[in-house]
Symmetry: C2
Subunit: 480 residues, 2 copies
């Protein structure tokens, strides 16, 4: 992993380091190494300097200096992103700006149902702060123990409760953003309704740090549910899963918090490789659904809802077998199985991954068509497609054939992507449902979207960051 | 009301008219008159030409010609806006582009829970189309019989069900927009999750037609509630209303669809002036709350929720008296009373109006402070402040003192605005919660917001509309 401290002028480096103090300006290989790789190991970046500012004023000073000198800045949160948006470019002198030290919860207001947090707060800490005042911050995802809210906002993270509460976008009322010039936009509003001009907030959300650096946010809290039930159902087909989802929506409405789809092979992988995971059903099924219901009024409502739903679904032959978790431990265990789907693929060799969405009603047709195409390309491929069915979001992952050469399989990543994404687009879908664009999908986005759309994005980028210093080459190809 | 056909070159006028056909290119005073005034009569515009295109292609041709010739275009839907965003400027040659003929519902998909509609569809027609397939399109507002979805989107309309379903922004999945150049952005996606670059959709939503013309939209449908209850409660104070709202949120969660606050004087005005409106409570109270609950699972759940809530609230002395509507007619009657608050002020003389929001928990303090300031300025003023308490959105309206001179009272509009908005800002509030900026609040917005925020908006405007032809002088002051 090359580190290239010599690509930055020593004087400039010293000026940057003077802003944070040298203790928070990392330059040696061992210290900067963790900032240069992402979880999948697809990208390795280089940097002369990792800055760890301790205040918004320091972030502002860093960006001001960067604007003046043309130094590229790559904001990084918990470094859990899957598209290398947070990783500096290889062979360039991008400065990494870590938000980790901006980790203060600024205010918790249970009456107003908001929490105000620094961008570097770890998601789990925000969840905890909400719980402490008997509220729920509903954003929840596999990496919640290390991802940071600034990254969640910049990537508009999804996760497991989108069905009821929306993406991160829907959970944010206001933002504080340091602009590329170092100017600070104070949009930390706590308002549910505010129609006063262009929606700057939603422009920064999901922009992956290419328009400015999010340093703080006002987040929505909701009442903690009185009732919470998790059911796990064995199903015959994806079509049955769709019918079950439709019924669950009718029956539970806004109380339906999650509806996750899992294939048999995913259950096999998790029970095989993840310690403590076991299949809660005694019989085997081709497909499985995790149904999560939470109700505000009482625990009984949730229980009755789930029992009635499953009884009706069995009566209608949509469900072959099912269990309702009997304790919080059991609920966690079922969710843990679902969240282990992706890690459980690792011991099975290489996997080619897709984070796609299609209209919910098109999921069965999309999956049938994609499966056929993939199996024709790679006989023996083991398709492990799972995900947030209620959102139309499938992690269409493919494990290598047993005994195949891992690298040879992974070398076909782009080729397989092209085929799967082609089918996704045919169904009016998205090539990135929740992970974003970053470096991984940048050129593909430009290829699949209408030129006018890419052109509008480029104009926005130029309007906000004329010097091109903010996370260049992410989302859009840099002009220079 | 002056009409100025001679301010546009006859040849250019003929070229515009050729696009729609002369039957849909209105120039005579009587035909164009309805397009030049808005409901409150505060603004009167002028125009040489009202164009009524019959297709997206015609909208595109109109904007292309406008871009080439520099003619200003003012998109107009149902002309129900309250800030004159849809009204052409006075004394200029702005062309009005009416979307009324683009009124086709393109697709209804109950399985995918979406409806795709032309921008000119009347809101009530969309509600009806949803109902026809046993779904709910939850956007609902007083003017739903004549407002158009394109206008709702362009102004990010709020209405009476924001608490549970969000503003128009939250009800839209995709957009089709004709850009100032005439190019068409096809963003008609039906996806719940799509993290692929900058959020263009949310930039056009709420932009009041200054960045392009919305011509079509993909809208979200939800299951029709199985249970629906409306309660009307007499309260002692705004503080009691806040405590009741807090309890209602805890008790009902996502089933709480509306929580509206009304003052005694509003009940007096509606019962006095609006035919058929009567006070459902026998005793008089200083304040009233309308509580709307809808549940997906069963009618019983909604009934039990409301009954339990009111019983607990009476036990806690938060509610003095209450009724639960016993029929759909009674539910409509209570809502009709609430929606008549604003029209019922008309017969009482002039009214100075505010559409503001503050954090929900600050409503009592804001209202107390604003009341004191207003009464000090205008002794005898009759404050009729009502609205969507659950959203923090108060229509802080002031009827003139009895016997006062109407015009002299109305002449103080800006002066009173400045005082009330000053208090709103002190509480971190918004000077336009749901009505937008248009012409009415343009200069005030620029005065109260940080210069960098206005500057960012101006850069976006310039990036999308360099020729400055799209609804100039609305939201932002035009450059030329």
């Amino acid at each position: 992993m090359p580190n290239t401290p010599d690509t930055m002028d020593a004087d400039l480096l010293a000026r940057f380091a003077a802003i944070t103090g040298s203790a928070h300006a990392l330059t040696d290989g061992a210290s900067v190494a963790p900032y240069l790789v992402e979880s999948r190991g697809l990208y390795h970046g280089t940097t002369p300097l990792v800055l760890r500012p301790g205040s918004v004023a320091e972030v502002s000073a860093i960006l001001k200096l960067a604007s003046e000198t043309g130094a590229a800045i790559v904001p990084q949160g918990g470094n859990t992103g899957h598209v290398a948006g947070q990783i500096p470019r290889e062979g360039r002198a991008d400065v990494v700006l870590s938000l980790s030290r901006l980790n203060r919860i600024r205010d918790v207001d249970p009456v107003g149902n908001v929490i105000v947090a620094d961008a570097g707060c770890v998601l789990a800490d925000i969840q905890k702060a909400a719980e402490d005042v008997d509220r729920l911050f509903p954003l929840s995802l596999g990496s919640e123990g290390s991802c940071q809210i600034g990254g969640n906002l910049s990537s508009n993270a999804g996760g497991t409760a989108v069905l009821a509460y929306g993406n991160t976008r829907q959970l944010c009322l206001g933002l504080e953003v340091v602009l590329p010039t170092g100017e600070i936009w104070d949009g930390l509003r706590r308002l549910k309704k505010d129609n006063t001009g262009y929606d700057l907030r939603d422009l920064f959300i999901g922009a992956e740090g290419t328009l400015g650096v999010i340093t703080g946010a006002v987040l929505k809290l909701v009442p903690r549910p009185a009732g919470h039930e998790v059911a796990f159902a064995g199903l015959r087909s994806v079509e049955a899963a769709l019918a079950l989802f439709d019924k669950a929506q009718q029956r539970c409405g806004g109380a339906l918090t999650g509806f996750e789809l899992m294939p048999r092979i995913g259950i096999a992988f998790t029970t095989r490789h993840i310690p403590g995971v076991r299949d809660p059903l005694s019989s085997r099924h081709d497909w499985y659904a995790l149904i999560d219901v939470s109700t505000s009024d009482s625990a009984e409502t949730a229980r009755t809802m789930v029992e009635t739903l499953l009884a009706e679904a069995m009566e209608a032959d949509l469900v072959q077998d099912a269990v309702i978790a009997a304790s919080e431990d059991q609920r966690r265990a079922i969710w843990h199985m679902r969240e282990s789907m992706s890690p459980a693929q690792k011991p099975e060799g290489g996997s080619i991954k897709h984070d796609v969405s299609v209209p919910v009603s098109s999921i069965p047709a999309f999956m049938a068509e994609a499966d056929e195409a993939v199996m024709a390309m790679i006989p023996g491929a083991r398709i492990c497609s799972f995900g947030h069915m209620g959102d139309g979001n499938i992690h269409y992952n493919i494990s290598q054939p047993i005994g195949a050469d891992k690298q040879a399989f992974l070398d076909r990543w782009r080729e397989v992507n092209a085929v799967v994404h082609g089918i996704v687009l045919k169904y009016g879908g998205s090539i990135s449902a929740e992970h974003g664009i970053g470096q991984l999908k940048r050129d593909e986005l430009a290829a699949v979207r209408a030129p006018i759309e890419i052109e509008l994005m480029a104009r926005i980028k130029h309007a906000f960051d004329p010097a091109g210093i903010m996370n260049p080459d992410k989302v859009l190809r840099a002009e220079r």
